[in-house]
Structures are given as structure tokens and as C-alpha cells.
């Protein structure tokens, strides 16, 4: 049994049944899943969660399905890594990496949202799933959809990283590259979604899909010993992940699973596509659309659907925002790799670079606890750092060559 009461408009609070719909007919606001928290409070305890599966489905009572989950049995519950070397490098006392670069099966946090979206799509009776993607979602829908035996239509911009294209194609979906940027793909997909009866995970299934991101926040709280950190730095494209991490923390608080949430949530965006971060930093009322130009292609959304809600969550938490240049993104990727042995993609480079800035600027105090959200894997965006890495030392297969070329040059 699930605890979903229905869907509710985020703007005017009008309620709807839990179907494959996503906008309010009256005010065009987006719809959000509404739960029966009173009933959840009666059954949900720390112990119940701790004895659940080692996947995001341990939080099933707070996820929007009615029956049992059918997709993503191994997704989520990724490591929270205590990052001592990076902490020392950045000059903070207590630092953790929430590491979704190893999320099963496609190595990004999108495996969480897709596990929920496809379980819901099956429950609603769809046999075809689709998405508009900046890359990681394409990988996740293709892989989970293959496992679930669903037909798949995946739409991506034409200029994505090779590994994200290959890492979609291998699961044999219908992959369509669109001549345009992500915002163009998105508009096209809305028009397609209006015409064909498919489960578009980020369009008509979006209210359910987005709930999957809460589990990133749930895990952080549980893995820290049922508390939330003083600071959490989160990358943003549409802003959905950030909004849902905040919602996850507040749900745990409301249910008495943790004490009062005192986390400052910070929004990290790349220079060249930072509409949400700029609105936060300039305290502007409006979020201004941009045409993205950044190496962080997974974050290249110029018209962020959850932008206003992300700004509001950051402000409500007392957090702020930061912007990383292409160069800082590359440095961020390398810094995380050489200190913690974690190879993240460009989105993670943005997050590390912004965390570093916020610490330097004193917006994150040195004696406080910090979690950096690492949401994707570096093997998918190798183009971004290829030219910044030194090469290997090549030698002849002789001891002499080894000693001359390696020992001397590395001055052992």
C-alpha cells in the first residue's frame, strides 16, 4: 500500500488524481505529489528504514507508487565518503562526498529518478517510455527501460559527449539527436508528449520522477547518523534535484526522524549557464533565461523549470550560490580525483569548485560540516579534461630504461 493522496498544484493548491498529468489546468503551475503524512508517521521509523533494502527503495513509504517497486532494485544507497584529504586541502573540518558517480546501473543520480519514474509508468500501464535529456537521463532511461522490457524513445541535443551517446545506444533504445540545444529538445518533446501516449519521464511523469531525487537527501541524513549537515552544495540544471533534497530533509524533520534541519543549501552552476545562481546572488525577482555555453553539458539548461522553487529553497535554508568557470570545473574534477580517488563528471567539477569558493569566501565556516553532492561519473565527460592531464611515461621493456626515465624524472 502506498501513501499517495493525489497530485497538488504547487501554485494554487488545486488537487488532482495521481495520473500521468503534470500541470494544473487552472493556473499552469506544476503538480506535486501529495502524501498522507499522518498515516506515514504511524508506520515509518528509523528502524524500519534501516532494515529495508540497500537501495533507494528503503524509503518506499515516501515515494509515489501504490504497489511494490518494479524497477531500480539496485539503484541508490551510494557511499557517503568522509573526505579527509579534500577537507584539509579546502580548510574545513568535516567534509563528505555523497558519491552518486557509482550509482547503479548508469553512474549518475538519474538512476534514482528513473527507478521511480519507470515503476510508476508501469503502474499506470504504459509500454513506452521517453525522455528529453542532457545525457545522464538518457543513459538511465535506456538502461532501466531495457531491464523493464519497455519501448524507449530518447531525445538528446546533437552535441553531447561521445560516452553519453554510446552509453545510451548500447541499450538499444530509439535514440534521436535533435539539431538544437537542450531547451529546444525540451520544447519539441512537450509537443510530442501532447500527441503520443507515452510516459515521458520528465514531462507527464515528472511529478513522480522528481520525487526520486528526495532519496539523495534521505541517504545523506541517514548516513550521517540521522542528522543533516551544516552545509550541502548541490549542482543545478533544472533545479529539481536541489528542491527535492530540501523537501527530503523537511519530510524527515516533519516525521520526527531527525531533529530540526539547520542545513544551508547552496546552488552550484557553471558560468555560461547559471540563471538560478545569478538570481540568487543578485536577489533578483525574475530568473533570466540564457543560451547555455559551458563544458558542463549535463547542467546546460537555460530555461530551468524548477528555477523559482530552487531559489526559494536556497533562500529558505539560508544558503547561497556559486558559479564556476570552465577552467575551475576542470580543476575541480582533478582536485577531487587526486585527493579522494573519485572521478566525477563536469557537473561534479562545478560542485567541487563552488564548494571551494564558498569556503574561501567564508560563506561556509571552517568548523562546520559540509556535504558535496557528486552526481555523475567522470568517464562520461573525458573530453572536458583530456587536454589538461599530463601523459604517461613511455619506456622500453628494460630495467635500464625504467631507471633512467622513471626514477630520475620522478626524483625518488
Amino acid at each position: 500500500m502506498g501513501y499517495v493522496k493525489g497530485l497538488k498544484c504547487r501554485e494554487c493548491a488545486k488537487t488532482y488524481p495521481a495520473e500521468a498529468i503534470y500541470v494544473c489546468e487552472f493556473c499552469f503551475g506544476s503538480l506535486e505529489v501529495d502524501y498522507d503524512y499522518e498515516a506515514i508517521r504511524k508506520v515509518l521509523t528509523r528502524k524500519k528504514i534501516e532494515s529495508g533494502p540497500s537501495s533507494l527503495w528503503r524509503y518506499r513509504d515516501l515515494l509515489p507508487i501504490n504497489g511494490e517497486p518494479t524497477v531500480g532494485f539496485y539503484s541508490g544507497f551510494t557511499p557517503l565518503v568522509k573526505a579527509n584529504r579534500l577537507a584539509e586541502e579546502l580548510g574545513v573540518r568535516e567534509l563528505y562526498i555523497k558519491d552518486d558517480s557509482v550509482c547503479h546501473p548508469t553512474l549518475s543520480f538519474k538512476d534514482r529518478v528513473v527507478a521511480v519514474a519507470l515503476s510508476k509508468a508501469k503502474e499506470l500501464g504504459f509500454d513506452t517510455v521517453a525522455c528529453a535529456s542532457t545525457g545522464n537521463l538518457a543513459n538511465a532511461v535506456s538502461a532501466h527501460g531495457a531491464w523493464a522490457g519497455l519501448k524507449r524513445y530518447i531525445f538528446i541535443p546533437h552535441d553531447l559527449e561521445q560516452a553519453k551517446v554510446l552509453g545510451t545506444l548500447v541499450y538499444a533504445p530509439n535514440l534521436i539527436t535533435v539539431r538544437g540545444n537542450y531547451d529546444d529538445v525540451n520544447r519539441l518533446c512537450s509537443e510530442i508528449a501532447a500527441k503520443y501516449n507515452w510516459a515521458f519521464v520528465n514531462i507527464n511523469i515528472r511529478p513522480y520522477y522528481a520525487e526520486g531525487s528526495k532519496t539523495f537527501g534521505f541517504e545523506v541524513a541517514e548516513q550521517l547518523g540521522w542528522r543533516t549537515p551544516d552545509h550541502l552544495v548541490c549542482p543545478a540544471a533544472s533545479g529539481s534535484l536541489l528542491v527535492k533534497i530540501w523537501k527530503g530533509f523537511k519530510e524527515f524533520e516533519k516525521l520526527g526522524l531527525i531533529g530540526p534541519v539547520k542545513t544551508a543549501l547552496h546552488c552550484a552552476q557553471p558560468q555560461g549557464c547559471s540563471p538560478i545562481a545569478e538570481a540568487i546572488l543578485s536577489k533578483s525577482d525574475a530568473i533570466r533565461l540564457v543560451r547555455p555555453k559551458t563544458i558542463a553539458k549535463s547542467l546546460a539548461i537555460g530555461n530551468p523549470a524548477d528555477g523559482y522553487y530552487a531559489r526559494d529553497a536556497v533562500n529558505a535554508s539560508g544558503g547561497t550560490a556559486g558559479i564556476a568557470s570552465d577552467e575551475e570545473i576542470v580543476e575541480g574534477i582533478q582536485l577531487l580525483a587526486k585527493t579522494e580517488g573519485i572521478f566525477t563528471e563536469t557537473a561534479g567539477g562545478v560542485t567541487v569548485a563552488v564548494a571551494k569558493k564558498l569556503i574561501e569566501e567564508g560563506k561556509i565556516a571552517k568548523n562546520q560540516s559540509v556535504v558535496i553532492a557528486i552526481t555523475g561519473n567522470g568517464l562520461k565527460t573525458q573530453e572536458a579534461i583530456q587536454s589538461s592531464l599530463g601523459g604517461a611515461l613511455e619506456i622500453d621493456p628494460q630495467l635500464k630504461s625504467f631507471e633512467e626515465k622513471v626514477l630520475i624524472s620522478s626524483k625518488l
Binding site: 503534470y22 493556473c27 506544476s30 528529453a132 508528449a193 520528465n202 533544472s238 539548461i301
Partner: protein, 91 residues
């Protein structure tokens, strides 16, 4: 000749289930007024109490976001294609 307007699913109840309608208007603002004459109530859905287009409604004129053009004052002419699209989640 006239302007072609693509109507999103949540508004199609007002357009007798039609996904595409035609209209004549000189700019985006005017288009909404004209649509409201043919399909009463549509303006209240697209615009807030002050008459401005709601922040999570996207309007595209020939594939270009109207916020990149002249917003409500974006001129329209015969043969233009307009798409009304709710905000969409990322990926």
C-alpha cells in the same frame, strides 16, 4: 493566412480538444486577447491577475522563446507558428 497556435494538453478542454488552432493578431499580447475571444477563459490560464503571462508558461514564436524576443510585445505576422508550452523538468 493566419497564425498557427499549438495548444498544450491542459488547455485543450477549452479548445474543444483541438491541439492546433488559428488566429489573427499583431503581437503575443494581442494573440492571447484574440484566443480568449474564440475560447473564453484561456487568458486566465495563461496570465496572472495582473494580466502578465505567468512565469512558468513558455511561449515560442517560430521555435524561439518569446522571452528572448520582445516578450508580450513580440510582433506576429501571417504564417507564424506559436507554441504554448508549460515549463518542463530537466534531465
Amino acid at each position: 493566412m493566419s497564425i498557427k497556435v499549438r495548444i498544450p494538453t491542459p488547455l485543450q478542454k477549452l479548445t474543444q480538444d483541438r491541439a492546433e488552432v488559428e488566429a489573427n493578431a499583431k503581437n503575443v499580447q494581442d494573440l492571447i486577447e484574440q484566443l480568449n475571444k474564440s475560447y473564453p477563459g484561456i487568458k486566465d490560464r495563461i496570465c496572472d491577475e495582473n494580466g502578465s503571462i505567468r512565469r512558468f508558461v513558455n511561449i515560442f514564436v517560430n521555435e524561439e522563446d518569446f522571452r528572448f524576443l520582445k516578450k508580450e510585445q513580440t510582433p506576429l505576422k501571417d504564417g507564424d507558428e506559436v507554441s504554448i508550452v508549460p515549463a518542463i523538468a530537466g534531465g
